[in-house]
C-alpha cells in the first residue's frame, strides 16, 4: 500500500493560516489503513488546528470528512459543493488524492497534509517498511522474492557491496542488507546459482527515468461512442 505520514502541525498551519474556510479531506484507502489520513486523523487534525487557533487567536472555519478513494474523480465529485465553498483544501490523502482534487478544481488552493512516503507493508502494528520502488520492470523472481532496488540502499543489481557486515547495511546499521537477505533466501531454496550470473545494467526507462509514466489498457478504455452514451445517461 501507499504509506504516508502526517506533516508536522506547524508546517500545516503555515500553509493554511491566511485562508479562512478550510476543508480537510481524508481518504479511506491506503492512508487510512496506515493510520495517516483516515477519519480519525482528519478529526484529530481539525481538533489540533482549532486548539492552536484558539491559543494563537486566529479564526478559521473547518469542515472535515473522508472519501472512499480521493484519487478517483467520481468520489471527489460527490463533495463538489463542499470543495467549491471552501478557500483551501487540506488533503489528508497521499499526493495522488491531493493532485486529483487540484487538477479537478484548478482555481482552488490544495495543500498536502501528509508526506507521501513509500510503497510499504505493515510489518507489525505501527511499523511499515518499504519494499518496492515501482521501477516498472520487476525482477524479484531472480532475487528470492526480495527487491534489491527498494531494499538495498544503493539499488545494486549485483550485491552485496563491500559494506555489508553481519547482515547489516553500512548506510545504516539498523537496516538489513538486502543482498545478504537475498543470499540467505536463495541458499534456503537451493538456488544460489542465480547469483553466479552477472546482471547487466537495468533498463530504467519503464521507471521514472523515462519521464512521467502513463499506462493505457486499450481493451478497457471506453470508445468515444460509449463515452458519449454515458454522458447522455448521466
Amino acid at each position: 500500500m501507499i504509506v504516508a505520514e502526517r506533516k508536522p502541525l506547524g508546517e500545516i498551519v503555515e500553509m493554511i493560516a491566511q485562508l479562512h474556510k478550510v476543508t480537510v479531506i481524508g481518504c479511506r484507502s491506503c492512508v487510512a489503513i496506515c493510520l495517516a489520513g483516515g477519519e480519525k486523523e482528519v478529526k484529530m487534525l481539525i481538533s489540533a488546528l482549532k486548539l492552536k487557533n484558539r491559543k494563537e487567536g486566529r479564526k478559521q472555519e473547518f469542515d472535515g470528512f473522508v472519501l472512499e478513494r480521493q484519487c478517483e474523480k467520481e468520489w471527489v465529485k460527490e463533495v463538489d459543493d463542499k470543495i467549491l465553498a471552501s478557500d483551501v483544501i487540506l488533503s489528508m490523502s497521499c499526493s495522488l488524492g491531493a493532485q486529483t482534487i487540484a487538477d479537478m478544481y484548478p482555481e482552488k488552493v490544495v495543500v498536502p497534509g501528509l508526506n507521501t512516503a513509500m510503497f510499504g507493508v505493515p510489518e507489525e502494528q505501527g511499523m511499515w517498511s518499504e519494499k518496492c520502488l515501482g521501477c516498472g520492470d520487476c525482477i524479484i523472481h531472480t532475487t528470492g522474492g526480495i527487491c534489491p532496488i527498494a531494499r538495498c540502499a544503493k539499488s545494486m543489481l549485483n550485491g552485496p557491496c563491500g559494506g555489508s557486515s553481519d547482515g547489516h547495511c553500512e548506510v545504516n546499521l539498523d537496516i538489513e542488507c538486502a543482498w545478504y537477505a537475498i543470499h540467505e533466501r536463495l541458499k534456503l531454496q537451493g538456488r544460489l546459482d542465480l547469483l553466479e550470473a552477472v546482471r547487466p545494467p537495468k533498463d530504467w526507462t519503464p521507471s521514472h527515468s523515462g519521464g512521467r509514466r502513463i499506462i493505457v489498457r486499450e481493451d478497457a478504455k471506453l470508445t468515444q461512442h460509449q463515452k458519449r452514451g454515458k454522458e447522455a445517461v448521466i
Binding site: 479511506r28 489503513i33 483516515g38 478529526k43 484558539r54 507489525e124 502494528q125
Partner: protein
C-alpha cells in the same frame, strides 16, 4: 426515556476539612438541566442512608444517579450495586465522581479554586449523565463446572484442593510424570496446546503423549511454576553455587556448613536484573534466619543488587538482622567473585559502604529461579502477556493479585516470578477459591459497555484485530470487522486506534466524551 438525574453528595466526605461548600454544590446541581433531585447525605456508604436515597429516587422518579462519595478507591463497588438494584436503575446509568481525591486533597489550601473546579466537574458529570444510554448485558450458561489447573506444583495442588472443596471438578494437568497427590482428575505427561472460547466456556486442546484431546472448562488456573533446573554463571563454575531450594532441603536435613553460607541473587552477578521480584528473597531470608538459629556459629551473607520481600515477609529483614545475618549490596559493575588467591573465599565490594569484604564460605546459593520455558506456549495458547523476564503477567491491581488480564484465567505461584513455598500455597488457595467463585454462578455475563463496529465505516484494515488485547475483533463474512461480545472487555483500545472511526464504545462515544469535556473546559474544542 426520562433522563432525570438524582445527584447524591456525601456531606461527610465531600465536605471534609471545610474545603468545599456542599450547599452551594447542591444549588449548582439543582439548577442544572436534567437534574430531578439533588441531595446531600451523611455517610453515603451507610445502609440506612442508602434506604433514604432509594426512597428519594423512587419518589422523584429519576432514572439515573450520580453519586459523589469519598475517594472511589475506598468504597466497595458492591455497595453501589446495591443502590442500582434497590432503586431499579439500569446498572449503566449510575456513576460516581471523586471530588475528594481529585479536588479536595490537591486543592485543600485554596478552597476558592477547589470550589470552582468542583462545580465545573459536577456540571460536566451531570452533562455526561444526561447523555448515557441504558445498556443491557447478555448472559450465557456455562456448559461445565470444570476448572483446569496447569502445573501440579505446590500452588497447583493447593488450587485443586480449594476448588474441589467448593464443589468444582478439577482437572490438573502436569507435564512430568511425577506422582501427584491431589483431588480431582490428574493427567500426567500432559500439556496445553491451544485454547478457544472465553471465561465460563473455554475449550482447551491438550496433548498427552501423542494423543490430542479437547477439554471443556469454565476457568483456568495457571500454576506453571519456575524452572528449577540448575542455572549457569561464573559463581557456579568458581564456587559451585547451587540453587536456593537445595539450601532449603539441606537445612531440612540438618546439613548446615559451619564455614559460612553466602546467598547471592544470581549466579551471574554481572547480568542485568529486570526486577527484584525475579528472586526468591522471602525464602532466602527465611533460610538465613533458620541457619542462624540452628547453627549460630555459621556466618550468613546475603549479597544483592535489589532486594524485595513481599507482604509480611518484610518483617523478616529485622529478624534476620537481629540474628546477625549480613546484608551486602553490590553493584553489578563490581560483581562478587571468587577470590583469585584463595578460592574458598568470595570477594564483594559493599556498594553502600565502599568496603571490600572477603567472605569464607562453605556453600554458595543463588536466589534466582528462571521462568518456566513453557510460559511461552501457555502465553500463546491463553493469550496472556508475558513479563520482560519471561513470567506470565498478572492483571492490574484492581483485578487482584491472582487475576490475569484475561477473564476466567488466574495465575498463582511462581508462574510470574519466584514465590516462596508459603506464598505459592496461599496463592494456589486463592486461585482455587476465585475460580470456584466464578464458576459457581453457572452463568457468564458479557456485553454492556463494550465496543461495536459500524460496518459501513470499517475499511477492514485489521488494526483493531491486531490491537485488541483480548482478541475480540475479527473480520466477519461481510468483510468488515465484528466484535465478539463474549471477549470484549470494553477497554476501548480498538476504539481509540481505529483509523476510520468505525468503532464506538457504548456510553463512551465521541459525542458523549467531547460534550462532557467541552462542558468541563467551557466551550468548543
Amino acid at each position: 426515556m426520562k433522563r432525570r438525574i438524582q445527584v447524591v453528595i456525601c456531606r461527610v466526605c465531600s465536605g471534609a476539612a471545610n474545603v468545599l461548600d456542599v450547599e452551594k454544590l447542591l444549588r449548582v446541581a439543582n439548577e442544572a438541566p436534567y437534574v430531578g433531585s439533588a441531595i446531600a447525605v451523611n455517610y453515603a456508604c451507610n445502609a440506612k442512608t442508602i434506604a433514604q436515597i432509594v426512597e428519594e429516587a423512587k419518589s422523584r422518579e429519576v432514572d439515573r444517579m450520580l453519586i459523589i462519595p469519598c475517594s472511589k478507591s475506598d468504597v466497595s463497588p458492591a455497595l453501589f450495586q446495591a443502590y442500582k438494584k434497590k432503586a431499579k436503575i439500569n446498572e449503566f446509568l449510575m456513576e460516581t465522581v471523586d471530588l475528594v481525591g481529585e479536588i479536595v486533597l490537591p486543592h485543600r489550601d485554596n478552597p476558592a479554586r477547589a470550589q470552582a473546579k468542583a462545580e465545573s466537574k459536577l456540571l460536566a458529570a451531570i452533562t455526561r449523565m444526561a447523555m448515557l444510554e441504558p445498556l443491557q448485558k447478555s448472559s450465557e450458561k456455562m456448559r461445565t463446572k470444570n476448572v483446569v489447573i496447569i502445573g501440579a506444583g505446590v500452588a497447583g495442588v493447593e488450587a485443586a484442593r480449594q476448588a474441589t472443596q467448593a464443589g468444582m471438578h478439577t482437572i490438573l494437568i502436569e507435564k512430568s510424570d511425577k506422582e501427584v497427590k491431589a483431588p480431582g482428575v490428574v493427567m500426567p505427561k500432559t500439556r496445553l496446546v491451544s485454547a478457544k472460547g472465553h471465561a465460563g466456556n473455554f475449550i482447551l486442546t491438550i496433548e498427552a503423549g501423542e494423543k490430542r484431546e479437547t477439554l471443556e472448562c469454565a476457568a483456568v488456573v495457571i500454576a506453571s511454576g519456575g524452572d528449577w533446573s540448575d542455572a549457569k554463571g561464573p559463581l557456579v563454575q568458581a564456587c559451585g553455587a547451587k540453587p536456593l531450594y537445595r539450601l532449603v532441603q539441606e537445612i531440612g536435613e540438618g546439613i548446615i556448613s559451619r564455614e559460612g553460607v553466602v546467598i547471592v541473587d544470581t549466579p551471574d552477578p554481572k547480568a542485568d536484573i529486570t526486577s527484584a521480584q525475579d528472586f526468591a528473597w522471602e525464602d532466602a531470608i527465611q533460610s538465613a534466619i533458620e541457619i542462624r538459629k540452628k547453627s549460630p556459629e555459621t556466618e550468613v551473607y546475603l549479597l544483592f543488587q535489589e532486594m524485595r520481600a513481599l507482604g509480611l515477609d518484610e518483617l523478616s529483614y529485622r529478624d534476620a538482622a537481629d540474628l546477625g545475618v549480613r546484608f551486602v549490596r553490590y553493584d553489578k559493575k563490581r560483581p562478587p567473585h571468587a577470590d583469585p588467591k584463595d578460592k574458598s573465599k568470595i570477594v564483594v565490594i559493599d556498594s553502600v559502604q565502599g568496603q571490600t569484604l572477603s567472605i569464607p564460605y562453605g556453600g554458595v546459593y543463588y536466589a534466582s529461579i528462571a521462568p518456566n520455558p513453557d510460559n511461552v506456549s501457555i502465553s500463546e495458547a491463553l493469550r496472556i502477556p508475558m513479563t520482560e523476564s519471561g513470567g506470565l503477567r498478572r492483571g492490574s491491581m484492581q483485578k487482584g493479585p491472582i487475576a490475569t488480564p484475561r477473564p476466567g484465567v488466574l495465575v498463582c505461584g511462581s508462574a510470574q516470578f519466584p514465590r516462596s513455598e508459603n506464598i505459592s500455597r496461599l496463592e494456589g488457595r486463592a486461585a482455587g477459591a476465585l475460580a470456584a467463585q466464578l464458576v459457581s454462578t453457572g452463568i457468564v455475563e458479557f456485553g454492556g459497555s463494550v465496543a461495536e463496529v459500524t460496518p459501513d465505516k470499517c475499511s477492514a484494515c485489521l488494526t483493531c484485530v491486531r490491537t485488541c488485547p483480548f482478541e475480540a475483533p475479527f473480520i466477519g463474512n461481510a468483510g468488515k470487522a465484528e466484535i465478539q461480545l463474549q471477549l470484549c472487555q470494553g477497554c476501548g483500545m480498538c476504539v481509540g486506534i481505529c483509523p476510520s472511526k468505525a468503532i464506538e464504545l457504548h456510553n463512551y462515544t465521541d459525542d458523549q466524551l467531547s460534550t462532557e469535556t467541552a462542558s468541563y473546559i467551557g466551550g468548543d474544542f
